[in-house]
Symmetry: C2
Subunit: 152 residues, 2 copies
């Protein structure tokens, strides 16, 4: 596995150990990880700390020149919010662990000029499938769905 | 002025007093403010705490049913990230203080079913015009532009 996707998956597993939602992300600039994060909805009681947002937050304030050379890795297809953050900062490329258990606005993101590479890694898929099966209400909350609905 | 837009403007002014970027937001459900926030890029060294994000964060974890009855007020047209957060949580309506000093992806947001009402309040416009004139580099950083470029 790509070592940066592996680092994002490691973050997802840290989230699971913390009894959180197992999604992880890393931000890479010039071959180095400058930020790591994982979903912290549970841990911080936060509706905004999806993995990608936590990663960007922990990377700190960067310049447009920094973001223009960056690659965002996420274990899961970024949702509207996280895709929007990538668009705001003009992150040119996102490498996505999988888009089988959730599918963000990928066509729109591509139409705005971001390159999206979908890996569909079996470990990323298995991690989310198990989590969603065990915690459907929590998962629906995280993606803005009513608790009683099925995730897409 | 609409009292909720006034509350958002009060938040923006709190941000200015803190030497931050003067943008404010409130989230209203059933006629009551359930969250207030302002841009805290400077105060928290945060690239994700735009006013709307800070407001959603401070509102805490809400249900989809809560968000479905909410109205988000922001003193400024929401950027890609903040628009994305509203899309994630299916906030049905956003009331925007002004879109003269910055213009988010309003057409896309409307195409996804959110009602956007643009007030273009003179106080909201004046607050941002003065801030941008005095702090152009900081403003460009906040909207993902190179420091040397002009804001749109």
């Amino acid at each position: 596995m790509d070592p940066f996707l592996k680092a994002a998956l490691d973050e997802a597993r840290i989230g699971l150990e913390e009894h959180g939602i197992p999604i992880g992300a890393v931000l890479v600039i010039d071959g180095e990880i400058v930020g790591r994060g994982h979903n912290r909805r549970i841990q911080k009681r936060s509706p905004i700390l999806h993995a990608e947002m936590d990663c960007l937050e922990r990377a700190g304030r960067l310049t447009a020149a920094d973001y223009s050379r960056s690659i965002l890795y996420s274990t899961l297809s970024p949702c509207d919010m996280c895709s929007g953050a990538a668009l705001l900062y003009k992150i040119p490329k996102i490498i996505v662990g999988e888009n089988q258990t959730f599918h963000g606005p990928e066509d729109y993101v591509r139409s705005r000029g971001i390159e999206l590479e979908i890996v569909n890694d079996p470990q990323c898929i298995a991690l989310m499938e198990e989590f969603i099966a065990n915690h459907p209400a929590l998962w629906n909350e995280d993606i803005g769905l009513p608790i009683s609905n099925s995730a897409p």
